[in-house]
Amino acid sequence: MTHPEASVATTAAAPALLRIQDLHKAFQTVEVLKGVDVTLARGDVVTIIGSSGSGKTTLLRCVNLLEEFQRGRIEIDGQAIGYREQGGRRVPCTGAEVARHRALTGMAFQQFNLFPHLTALRNVTLGLIKVRKLARDEAVAIAEKWLDRVGMLERRNHYPGQLSGGQQQRVAIARAVAMTPRLMLFDEVTSALDPELVNEVLSVVQGLAQDGMTMLLVTHEMRFAYEVSDRIIFMNQGRIEEEGPPADLFNQPKSLRLKEFLKTIKI
């Protein structure tokens, strides 16, 4: 990659790929994230677990700048995103800067959110053409490579409405990774799927992890989290309650809340 800021950043003692510091986020007066710190090195696969409403989605959305946040800092490759200092004040970045920051991360959503009027192929090429400014045939070549990766090449000319949930989610993942993000965010990508379609999506995610993609995931598939993650983060009421390797967290939980949470879910 030829981003100038990346080459500068990587010379400085290999900084973290993602660094979240003291992140605070409130919806009106309700504080949803109450000081969250997360650091991912390049190639890390980290899974966030926690009960519904604990702030997992909000955290991912902040990293992708789909939500504003009131306090704290998010850096990708040493570059602060979303806000910058100006005369000692914290000001939101402009629309174009924000779009550029967002392009550093890719996101896959629970509801897939494919563009319904475009075929699988055009869903993937849209960003390549409009954001990366590639020529059409170049974009098509890249899109086909990724659709092949997720096992959807044969159905590249199908519309989302003609695909099963699992197939749609795989296209959505291809659409995100084709943009070569430095970090992928997965928010409960199998929660909207029928049980028999879960595995086809999880194996795509696992394949990306094995290829060294840095990712931050939210999932309720605990067995999968155990297998794929370098670290697990347990969130509770807007805070990180416990963090560590999967074996430690699942087998020797320290906090009472995590013990209770693990009891409520089946592994």
Partner: protein, 220 residues
């Protein structure tokens, strides 16, 4: 006494009637195209974060929808020249019909925009598209496809409204029918022929529109 129908007297002017019908179709087509642009802008205005845009769009829609179209036609035709804008009858009518269509399409588009799932915009943002790119490449194309049936109905309404252009002597079907009526004294035949031509044209248009809708509709 029995009335002897004589359609030949009317249909002798076949050329005039058909050219009038054709002009009506062109007027409706041009007006709905311009109306779509106005309606789209006004729909975004109604939904804007900025109060001033909301006010402008709302005043426009409310005013136009609460004024009879014949009044709008006459107002445009007689008032614009007073303001120094010299326009032909046809241009003047197209302006009126476009502005009129725009006001109705604003509501169609507004409802269509509101119905677009929030996730589509966020998926666009997530791959780095700007708000403008998302609007052009995702939101508007999806919305237009969803509102195609309404657009079609509006087009048929507009086509029928072109008969009012006769009021300012635009040579469309009603204008010629009135002329033939005056010359032939065949009141019933003339207006029956005119009605039938409108009906047939509308049926053909709606069949064609259903075909287009099916071609463009989002596959679900």
């Amino acid at each position: 006494m029995t009335y002897h129908f004589d359609f030949a007297v009317v249909w002798r002017h076949e050329n005039l009637l058909l050219s009038g019908l054709g002009l009506g179709l062109v007027l409706a087509l041009v007006s709905i195209l311009i109306g779509c642009i106005i309606g789209l802008a006004a729909a975004f205005g109604v939904l804007s974060r900025h109060r001033i845009f909301r006010i402008i769009a709302t005043v426009y829609v409310t005013t136009i929808r609460n004024t009879p179209i014949l009044v709008l036609i006459l107002l445009t035709y007689f008032a614009l020249p007073e303001l120094g804008l010299r326009l032909g009858k046809i241009q003047s009518f197209i302006i009126t019909l476009s502005v009129y269509a725009g006001a109705y399409l604003t509501e169609v588009f507004r409802a269509g925009l509101v119905a677009i799932p929030r996730g589509l915009r966020e998926a666009g943002l997530a791959i780095g598209l700007t708000e403008g790119q998302i609007r052009r490449s995702v939101i508007i194309p999806v919305m237009i496809r969803n509102v195609l049936p309404s657009l079609g109905n509006n087009f048929i309404s507009l086509f029928k409204d072109t008969s009012l252009a006769a009021a300012i002597a635009v040579p469309e079907l009603t204008f010629y029918a009135r002329k033939i009526n005056v010359e032939s004294f065949r009141v019933i035949e003339t207006w029956m022929v005119a009605s039938l031509m409108y009906v047939v044209a509308c049926l053909i248009i709606s069949t064609a529109l259903r075909f287009v809708e099916r071609r463009l509709a989002i596959i679900r």
